[in-house]
Amino acid sequence: MSAIQELDRTILLCRDYVSETATGEQIAFGLRSARVLCISDMRNLSSHSGQTALVTLVCLLTRMGMQVSIDIPEVPMLGPQPPLKGRLLRSALIGANGTLISAAAVHGEPCSEPDLIFVLGDTVIGDRYAWRLSGDDWHGEVSLQAGTRSSRWTASWPVGSMISAALAAAEAFKFTILRLPFRDPADRVFFTPSFSCGWSFGPLAVPAGPLDLGDVDVISAGAICQAALYVLVRLPGVSMRGRVFDDDVTSRPNLNRNMLSRVGDVDLKKVLVIARECGSRFQLEPIAERFGGRVNSHKLAPRVIVGVDDIPSRWAVQRVTPGWLGVSGTSHFSVSSSAHAPGEPCCGCLHPVDEETGANPIPTISFVSFWAGLALTVRLMAEALRTPFHRNRQHLWLAPLRMDGEHAAMWSPVAVRHDCPVRCPLSSRNLPSMEVHRISAETPSSERGA
């Protein structure tokens, strides 16, 4: 029963396309029966990026309930990899067996007949077909190959490696869901393998030395902010202080996507989980209250990241944010990510409508929530490096299922709205129509990462 509970939201998302004839147990079994082998040699694990690619991939796969085996040498960890414990990578991964999702195993003995093989960089495995993860500081890619055409992981900056892991996890999911009966066979187009795809958030510099983000407040300790902090805590030389606001406790249905949480954290306040897992790098004060009400009167930090589902809560945060605000959300298999600096259209302009869905649970899956957090952290880094995204890239709509598609990612400006529910300064000015047209003229016909 715990496996069903832990995979509940993933099962719910599968229900978008899987036939009603399949029970929840059958969908869970389909996910849990996927056997994935991850392979790397010593050289590809001799960099922080290589290690992060492997850990992130294993975490994303196990949070979908899959059975993972690793064929890697033992190496010392080159940086923190929460929620894994220990100083040796292979041991830490095997130690994660059954701790991220109860029924998802991580084995040290290579599976003899895996359904899928993922290989890091230029690790040699003969002529077997395998999905290869490669990339550099900010760029990640995955491709199905027989033989070795990918480059070795050498970077110490790990954003590209986490991109490649997220791309790879999507391929594993697509393989798995395609084994289930579909309500409509035509929907299988959304799950066609992306045999070769890559992604970069754009040309960004790697910090030359230590980078202090200063005070950063985190609104919500749920999946998206956990993913954002999972990424942040892996960035070498980055420091920050701040507070995390959330009144919720970890529940089993959170484990399919909460990247810093473990089975043993069920019933523990989410803010305490975050403070514990990030405590070695950041000074994060856990505030076990929902942002709003009394807390609403607190002055927020100059930089705020938001991962709450509730749209009015986003508006409330925007109203009291003195500086930069980053927002990410998910909708089924899609991701929305935006940044709002003073003088720019706000998150109310971008999300002006509340969605009345009652108390229904939200369908989610590990790699989609992870993309949302990753995009949020990259925006925060771009802001901190004083190279924020251009206004034409204020909003990103991403479809992680088909990153090989020409329009898998759509960057856009945020249009000012007269009816902005936040009533931001731009919306109350009498020039939005001109503003919108000026921005439109600058928008390329199709922009996406390299």
């Binding site: 229900r15 009603e20 969605e355 088909r402 921005i439």
Partner: protein, 233 residues
């Protein structure tokens, strides 16, 4: 000089990373294009929340014609929710539920009195896979569930980790939620659904003419515009 406006042209619409071409006419309503896109992409998850967006981030107004909305040949539009927060889960009905429901309501009510059933399913998830017919008394104007049956029913649900997803009952004429219906749902949590079938369920076995409402956080019922907002068959 004669300026010829292109009456019929193609645009591209992107959903879930997949791009498909659509032919539009300048007088066509954007709402029609939106519905066509929802149908072509076979979207069943909260289609009422979806809108078309240009690449400059602006919403394509559904009330306008294609021409007045300023759509251009080969323009790429994004089909996405207007409100992004992950979406709520709809209930998924097993294939037999609808026919079983109408069968029970017709047999019990015989076209002369009200009847009620409860749709149940596993507590964890959105599936409805069983129709419970409670022991009850009824008349042309109402019904009342037997207390002892209700107690046993709750115990049975708890033991089998199932829950009531929807209450369904009939009315003699029009479908609506009466004050009694408002005040006495079998389950009182936010999001719970209530369905009222008109004419003692003697009509077509579908929810097309039914009243479908959802309990809100403030305790009030909100009538859904269409059953598909909350239920997929």
């Amino acid at each position: 000089m004669i300026v010829e406006t292109q009456k019929k042209f193609a645009v591209e619409i992107v959903y879930n990373g997949v791009t498909k071409p659509f032919e539009v006419e300048s007088e066509e309503r954007v709402a029609a294009l939106l519905q066509q896109a929802i149908a072509v992409f076979r979207i069943t998850q909260q289609p009422h929340l979806l809108s078309l967006f240009r690449q400059d981030g602006t919403l394509v107004p559904e009330g306008e014609s294609v021409e007045r909305a300023g759509l251009k040949p080969h323009e790429v539009l994004l089909l996405r929710p207007n409100a992004v927060k992950g979406g709520g889960g709809r209930l998924h009905l097993a294939a037999h539920v609808m026919s079983d429901t109408f069968g029970v309501l017709r047999r019990c009510g015989r076209g002369v009195r009200e009847c009620a059933v409860f749709w149940t399913g596993p507590t964890d998830g959105q599936l409805v896979d069983n129709v419970e017919h409670p022991r009850h008394t009824s008349s042309i104007a109402g019904y009342q569930i037997d207390d002892s049956w209700l107690t046993a029913f709750w115990l049975r649900l708890a033991a089998s980790r199932r829950s009531v997803k929807v209450q369904v009952h009939t009315h003699p004429g029009l479908a609506f939620h009466s004050a009694v219906d408002d005040g006495w749902p079998i389950v009182s949590h936010e999001g719970f659904l209530s369905i009222v079938i008109p004419n003692f369920a003697t009509g077509e076995a579908s929810l097309d003419c039914a009243w479908v409402g959802q309990l809100q956080a403030n305790g009030r019922w909100r009538q859904l515009a269409c059953p598909a907002e909350a239920i997929s068959a």
